[in-house]
Symmetry: D2
């Protein structure tokens, strides 16, 4: 995918469908999180490492545009990239495809906070560098 170098796959669970016979639109929000966790595992030692260092990444914005319905047992590819790191904030962009066909796209924004106080905290240097390296190596 143009501009994306990382992708994760999810297989749609039966529990993720609804009575419309398709994947419920809220399931996609969970899959974006699965993709972020896989991204951090690949490039930054995993989300649990970030949590273990006393931080949490809160989600401050979700934007999703759904282009096609997706059905039980289909495999979706979630192209994921991290953009716009500054201070305590960063953004992920996503493109969700099924066999090369666009199913949905969107972005999420996040703020790093201290796990105890829930106050915004600059990304630690190791994490900012890991994410920056991930994306620069992507191009």
């Amino acid at each position: 995918m143009d501009g994306y170098s990382f992708s994760t796959e999810v297989r749609i669970r039966f529990a993720e469908t609804d009575a419309q016979g398709i994947a419920h639109h809220a399931s996609f929000v969970v899959w974006l999180e699965v993709a972020r966790v896989a991204y951090l595992a690949r490039y930054a030692g995993g989300y649990q490492a970030i949590r273990d260092s006393g931080l949490e990444a809160l989600t401050t914005e979700v934007v999703l545009r759904y282009h096609r319905a997706a059905a039980f047992d289909e495999t979706l590819t979630i192209w994921t990239r991290c953009v716009d790191l500054r201070g305590a904030r960063f953004t992920y962009e996503y493109r969700i495809e099924r066999a090369g066909e666009l199913v949905a796209e969107g972005h999420t924004r996040h703020a790093v906070v201290d796990r105890e106080t829930y106050r915004p905290t600059r990304l630690p240097a190791w994490l900012a560098e890991a994410l920056a390296t991930a994306e620069s190596s992507a191009t």
Copy 2:
């Protein structure tokens, strides 16, 4: 709430929280749906009536901005209004509050489709009128 005349309440379930100790961000997407269902029950005979008439309303876009974390057992008020009906499409706007304080806000877009063919279908007149009346009476 300014410009909103309809609201629904949700009480945050334990299952809707996550290991950050707060409501998971995907739970909000489900609550917006709960609010739409309540809105349609109030103004348009209920979502099931729409389904029974051979239609489904697909969600084509979700936008949510999270301003404050919300915790287990808190009661949230979801202010909801339907805007921009045209042809097969309509938009809902939301403002989620806890005791008058803004917790999140956003909108969702929808397309009415035929339940069998999944093709976009004009909102039936009764539904378009019901929604228009709901919002005009709101002001």
Copy 3:
């Protein structure tokens, strides 16, 4: 309901249905928790009060028997009672009805643990008494 004095209602959400067109069986597990939370709010100051006193109630067993399918937007009544308190353990029994008709029934078992160590801890006297009083007053 025979032997039950407390009930909660849940309205089935669209997100809780699946592609079989009915409520997903895992949704019932969440509703049992909603019923426990309501029960504790009524008889024991709420689950958050228990958590605030440094305890968590872990679920150690779930048993559910499904007798009838339930559909979107239906209202279910969850009859709930607490039985068998001893030491750190207690059991809830449930009967889920729709307009007086049995939809599902089951029980859950729980162990009270310390929030920090996750070690089993005797129910504090105030909680054991609150639960015992709730059930004795029920008969």
Copy 4:
């Protein structure tokens, strides 16, 4: 695993955790379904094939005993076997492990019904044979 020849792995998602800091107990019910779907994909052409033949498998009973808490990002192995096929009914047994350690165990019961009428229907011969073969080859 003794008596089990099939297993599936699930990686615990952040959305599947709760404010106790561990995987929510209802998440396990969804994982059992993931395991059944994987089992059917391996031995019986997939659950969608069953649905496409006009049948659904309803869940009529869930029994789960939780022995240890499980945390975000852990990988669980779900040992799965199908037992007791008769007429329209069958049972699955499960053993959920983390690195060889028992985390939970249980079973689910199911009834095959016609997708239109929701009436119990004998398992079609091809499916009964596929499941019987799966388990006999397992020993």
